[in-house]
């Protein structure tokens, strides 16, 4: 029974408006306007977010892609037997006595001859011409010769790293004006570079060494690569995965399904939530105090880094696992208990499989977070260490000093040479690729394990 039928014939049954649906009343208009405004705010917020994302990606890609190419100079180096292998028996142990200083004049002379043969006239003398090459060039030749002693006595074509200034010139970072104040290379060198390039003796190619190589000293940015710290990150992630996943999942199952609900478990719950918000550097100093100073684990080792990151990742995994366990409908537990399953059977046979997508997603998000973490690594000495050799074996991978990708990026960004700048950005591209891969794996796993019916 409405008022309208109670007072038949009244023109305005609700007292204040003509009851036409075709003209919206003032109140409706105001509500619609408020909704429209809210939608607009949302779109603006989304737009700002997108602008930030696009400019971030643009900055990373435009600055970082150049790290993936590197300039090489092709030089025919005569490997003079008298200089490199005095005894003549091609014994690598004997030949190792000749240091890179023994190779340097050979390379310089070879470069000068090459430039002569091409027909480039220059006033720079032979010794200074060698500045075109990276100071790692003699080591590069020496390593190849020691690996294959039979090369001695022949004239071999080498693709030698150009110095970072030459590389920078090809990438547009170095100009003749900037070289006027630079003692490493003169503008005249660049004339030679132009001519070498015209003669195809100098080229810019894809730089696999950046992806697989080791970090180099501060003065040789052209040689630095992220490969070894990638291995460091990999071993850390192994530690995190094999510690944080079982511990985190077991702790959450116990807390969620078995633990009595009392003050003590409430206290633990609150503290786990708090731990998730603790700054990561706090975990770093904890790791320094506990793992290195107290337990005497080796400094800068991926094992210690992994332990610290495990502490950091555990709360994330526990919280997401508990959330996904909570999301499993209680009727499934009832059903299992109703047919006489024990508590543990109901959890492991029914609840856990349903919670799996959430657990895996949480774990991978936690791992991705750990992969990008730098601050705790500062305190346990994984930053600033020049990882020059890849680990040889499993134990060495866990225990030998190493760095990690984000720490390596931080290290490069800190260095003075502008050539390291592009390497830092390039490292970020690689790190982002890893994170993206992990997120895609998380999505795929979630889809696969999702309740299929």
């Amino acid at each position: 029974m409405s008022d309208a039928t109670a007072t038949p014939g009244a023109a305005t049954p609700r007292g204040h408006q003509p009851a036409s649906l075709l003209t919206p009343d003032a109140r409706t208009k105001r509500r619609n306007a408020a909704e429209g405004r809210f939608k607009l705010y949302g779109i603006i917020a989304l737009g700002i977010g997108l602008i930030f994302l696009v400019s971030l990606l643009w900055a990373i890609i435009s600055n970082g892609t150049s790290a993936f190419t590197q300039t090489f100079i092709t030089v025919d180096v005569p490997l003079v037997e008298a200089e490199l292998d005095e005894t003549g028996n091609r014994d690598p142990a004997e030949m190792a006595k000749v240091s890179t200083f023994g190779y340097k004049p050979l390379i310089a002379a070879a470069l000068e001859r090459q430039i002569d043969e091409i027909g480039i006239e220059t006033e720079i003398d032979g010794k200074d011409l060698a500045d075109l090459l990276s100071s790692s060039a003699p080591a590069q030749v020496r390593d190849q010769v020691l690996a294959n002693p039979d090369l001695v006595g022949q004239t071999v074509e080498f693709r030698l790293l150009a110095s970072s200034r030459v590389d920078g010139y090809l990438k547009g970072r170095v100009t003749r004006e900037s070289l006027a104040r630079d003692k490493n290379l003169s503008p005249e060198h660049l004339d030679v570079v132009d001519k070498l390039r015209a003669a195809d003796a100098l080229e810019k190619t894809f730089n696999w060494d950046f992806i697989f190589g080791a970090d180099a000293s501060e003065s040789r940015p052209e040689q630095a690569g992220i490969g070894v710290s990638m291995i460091g990150s990999f071993f850390m992630m192994l530690v995190v995965l094999f510690l944080a996943l079982p511990i985190g999942v077991a702790a959450s199952i116990y807390l969620e399904e078995f633990a009595p609900k009392n003050r003590f478990t409430d206290f633990i719950e609150v503290n786990i939530s708090n731990l998730a918000a603790v700054p990561s550097i706090v975990f770093g100093i904890l790791g320094l105090a506990v793992f290195i100073q107290f337990a005497h684990l080796p400094q800068s080792a991926p094992l210690v880094g992994g332990l610290v990151l495990t502490l950091m990742t555990l709360p994330t995994i526990i919280i997401s696992t508990r959330a996904s366990l909570k999301a499993v409908p209680p009727s499934i537990r009832d059903a299992a208990l109703g047919v006489g399953a024990s508590k543990m059977q109901s959890v492991f046979h029914h609840v856990l499989p349903l919670a799996m997508p959430g657990i895996l997603t949480g774990t991978i998000i936690g791992l991705a977070q750990a992969l990008g973490e730098t601050a705790p690594l500062l305190l346990i000495g994984m930053v600033g260490f020049i990882a020059s050799n890849p680990p040889d074996g499993l134990a060495s991978g866990f225990l030998d000093p190493n760095s990690a990708m984000p720490a390596q990026i931080y290290e490069w960004a800190k260095r003075a040479d502008p050539a390291y700048y592009e390497r830092a950005w390039g490292g970020i591209i690689i790190l982002l690729l890893f994170l993206m891969t992990m997120n895609i794996i998380a999505i795929i796993l979630r889809r696969r394990f999702e309740r299929r019916w």
Binding site: L337, G338, H349
Partner: protein, 265 residues
Amino acid sequence: MNDMRLAERAVDMSDNKITAKGVQVYYGDTHAIKDVDVEIKDKTVTAFIGPSGCGKSTFLRCLNRMNDTIDSARVEGQICIDGEDIYDPKVDPVQLRAKVGMVFQKPNPFPKSIYDNIAYGPRIHGLAKNKADLDDIVERSLRRGAIWDEVKDRLHAPGTGLSGGQQQRLCIARAVATEPEVLLMDEPCSALDPIATAQVEELIDELRENYSVVIVTHSMQQAARVSQKTAFFHLGHLVEYGETGQIFTNPQDSRTESYITGRIG
């Protein structure tokens, strides 16, 4: 309610299956069940009726100790099945629940195949010696659940893909697969449409031959249709308990009469 032919119903006066004496249930400080005494007979359908929140589901869940899973719940008094106190500290509730099966309000098949839904109970209790044995149990249970003909060609299809009524009969089949002696049903038809309800009710009547069935229901018509004995709960008290025909035609307590005639509840 004159179509129920109450007088025609023969009540099998066999022995008591479940005997409850002085049962009290507390949820924290709330006194949910107050001093309930009841004797439930074997091979009989017993209905618990009463308004919402009167404690009928709570009492039902005492009979297979499902209240144990609720932290704040506390049960006092004595409940015996076949003369054995099920709240004795030596009783393992897991073993008890194999003997006292339960069907829930909302159909809750496991998100597995129809076959696995039925086979799960027998598997964990070790009732089947081999695959053929298990197949046999699955078929027998599905037949008892009156759903075999509908699903026999798709035993490996997901149980959650069935209709609501089929899911509930699957759950009943799952409950009987562990060879229980008592079957508890907590409003088994409240989520079903009338046709599915009729099928489940028919099934309940058939199950009476082998089991002692206790059913909680909101529908008095349903209680009248399927049960031989009816218990009326109100505010945690067992107000009246007797033969269904007598409860519906000649209630002794004024509260029962008010509820049945629709004045309370």
